[in-house]
Symmetry: C2
Subunit: 313 residues, 2 copies
C-alpha cells in the first residue's frame, strides 16, 4: 500500500484502569473504538505492547497516518514526565512506541490527557471550528487544557492548562492532594463541592435536605439545589464562583475565543453554566461582555478524539 | 533596488505623548532611533502621516522589509480596537498605513504596546532565545505580554497578556480605573505600592520614615525598604506577593519558560526579584521548583524592538 493511501488516525487514551483506543478518518469520524485493561504490573512496562497488539488485531498499520497518545500526567517534549497511576516516570513514549512499530515515518504524538480532551472538543465536539480554546474538566479533580492557534499549550514543565492547582480559596483552605491548600480542585471539582457542602453543614445549623444523608455526592448537591434547597444552592454558587474566577484569569491572559466545561460535574448543564456566567462577568467587566462558554459534548471519548487530532495531516 | 536587497526593519511605538521609531537590521541591531511628538488633534488623524514623513526624512522605504507598530490599547486582527490616549477607536492601522505607503507588498504588523515590549525582550533583551515567555510591565499601571512559540498571544478581544486587571486583592479593594476593585494594577504597580503604603500609614500607628513625607513615590518606598524601614518592607512584600500570585496563575496555564519583569518598578532589581520568588513558590510548589524570572533589559526601547520583531523575516 502506498503512502498516499493512508487514511486513518488512531487516538489512544491511557487511563489508570483502562485504555481507550479509537480509529478515525481524517475528518474526525470515529470508525471503531474499544477498551483494553491497563496492565500496571512492572511499572506498566507492557502497556505499549498491549496497545500495539490490540490495534493489530483490528487493523493494519499500513493505512494509519499517525497515532496520538493521551496520558494521565504532565508531558514535555514527547516524554511523559510522571504518570503515578501507570508507574511511569520519564517515559519516552514516542521513542518507545516507534521501536515497537519499527516504523521511522509514522507520526506519533503525546500529550497530557486533559489537554487531549480539549483538543478532542476542538476536533469534533463543542469547540469545533475554534482555534483558541480553554477547557476545564471537573471530575474528581480539576483538569484543563488550552489550545492556542489550534495547538496544545504544553508548557515548559508540562503544566500547560493545569488550572486545577491555581490557589483560589483563601477562606476554607481545604488541603489538596498536591500539598497546597485552597487549589481550584479543592472547591470546584466533584470532591470540592462535597467539601464545601460538608463544611456548611458542620459549621452552621442551617436546614438542608443534605442532612438526611450520611454521605452524598456532588450530583446530590446539584439535584437538591435544582429543587430549591438553599444550602445546596449556595454551595453550587460558591463552587461556580471559584471556577469563574480561575476562568477570568485565563480570559485576561490567553483571552480564548471559547471556554469549554467538561467532566462529570458538567452534566449539571445550563444550571451550572448560568451560575458560572453570573460570576465570570464580575471579574472581567468592562473588558469582556460576551464570552462564549459551553458544555463539552464528547464525554469520555474526548481523549481519543484529541489524541487523533494531534496527528491529523 | 531588488527585493532581495531589503535589509531593514522598522519598529514604531506609539505613545500618548511621543512616538518612538527605530530602524533595525534583521539581527535586531538598532541602527537609528528617534522620537516625534504625538499629535492627538482631530482624533489623532495625522499620526500615521507624521510617522511616514518622519521615516522618509531618514531612510527610503525601498530597503525596508517590514514595519511593526505598537499601540497603547487592545489589538485584534490588525485593528486597534480602542486607544483612549490617541483618540482612536477601531483604527484599521495596517490598512491605513498601507494606503499611505502605496505598497501592497510591505509587511505591516500591529500589536498592543505591552505585548510588543515582551516581543522586544525576546528579540534582543533578557528573554533572548526563549520562545514561551510572559512579561509583566510594572509602571503607573500593570501591563503584560505573552509569547507562545515565539508569537504574541493577541486574544480574541485583544486582551492577551492583560494581567493588570486580574482581580487579586479581596482585602483592600482599591478602586481601579477599569471600574472594578482589587485588580493587580491597584496593588503591584507604582501607584499600587503607594496605595498600600498610604493605607498602612492611615490605618495603623506604626512608625515609618514614610511619615516624614506628605507625598512619596514607589521608588521612595523601595529606597526606605532597602534601608530597613519595616513598614516599607511590608508594603513591598505585599505588592510582590500579589504579583507572584498572578504569575502563578500563568505558570499553571501557559507555563512559560521565563517570566520577565519590566517597567519603572523593576528598577528595584534583585531586591524585588527575591521578594517575588519567595511568594511565587508558595503558590506553585510542588509543580514548579525552578522558574526562570528575570528583570527586563531594554527599558523604554523594548516597544520598538518588539514592533520590529513582529516583521522580521
Amino acid at each position: 500500500m502506498v503512502k498516499d493511501m493512508k487514511n486513518h488516525l488512531i487516538g489512544v487514551d491511557i487511563g489508570g484502569t483502562s485504555i481507550k483506543i479509537g480509529i478515525f478518518d481524517f475528518e474526525g469520524r470515529l470508525i471503531n473504538k474499544w477498551d483494553i485493561p491497563t496492565n500496571k504490573l512492572n511499572h506498566g512496562e507492557d502497556i505499549l505492547h498491549d496497545i500495539y497488539n490490540s490495534i493489530l488485531e483490528r487493523t493494519s498499520f499500513d493505512d494509519v497516518f499517525g497515532i496520538g497518545f493521551g496520558v494521565p500526567g504532565p508531558v514535555s517534549n514527547e516524554i511523559a514526565l510522571n504518570c503515578v497511576n501507570l508507574g511511569w516516570n520519564n517515559k519516552h513514549l514516542v521513542e518507545d512506541f516507534r521501536k515497537i512499530l519499527s516504523d521511522e515515518n509514522m507520526i506519533i504524538r503525546l500529550a497530557n490527557d486533559a489537554n487531549c480532551a480539549c483538543a478532542g472538543e476542538v476536533f469534533q465536539g463543542s469547540a469545533k471550528g475554534f482555534q483558541n480554546v480553554a477547557m476545564f474538566t471537573l471530575g474528581t479533580g480539576v483538569g484543563g487544557g488550552i489550545l492556542q492557534n489550534g495547538t496544545i499549550v504544553e508548557g515548559v514543565n508540562g503544566l500547560g492548562g493545569e488550572p486545577g492547582h491555581i490557589v483560589v480559596d483563601f477562606l476554607h483552605k481545604f488541603p489538596c492532594n498536591c500539598g497546597k491548600k485552597g487549589c481550584l480542585e479543592t472547591v470546584s471539582s466533584a470532591t470540592g463541592i462535597v467539601n464545601l457542602a460538608k463544611e456548611k453543614l458542620t459549621k452552621t445549623k442551617r436546614q438542608s435536605a443534605l442532612r438526611n444523608f450520611a454521605n452524598f455526592s456532588a450530583k446530590r448537591v446539584f439535584d437538591l439545589a435544582k429543587q430549591g434547597d438553599q444550602l445546596s444552592i449556595d454551595v453550587i454558587d460558591e463552587a461556580a464562583n471559584y471556577l469563574a474566577y480561575a476562568m477570568s484569569m485565563i480570559a485576561l491572559t490567553t483571552n480564548p475565543e471559547l471556554f469549554v466545561i467538561g467532566g462529570g460535574v458538567s452534566n449539571a448543564g445550563e444550571y451550572l453554566l448560568n451560575k458560572i456566567k453570573d460570576h465570570f462577568y464580575s471579574y472581567v467587566n468592562p473588558f469582556i461582555r460576551d464570552q462564549k462558554i459551553v458544555i463539552a459534548s464528547l464525554g469520555n471519548d474526548a481523549g481519543i478524539y484529541g489524541a487523533a487530532y494531534m496527528v491529523k495531516p
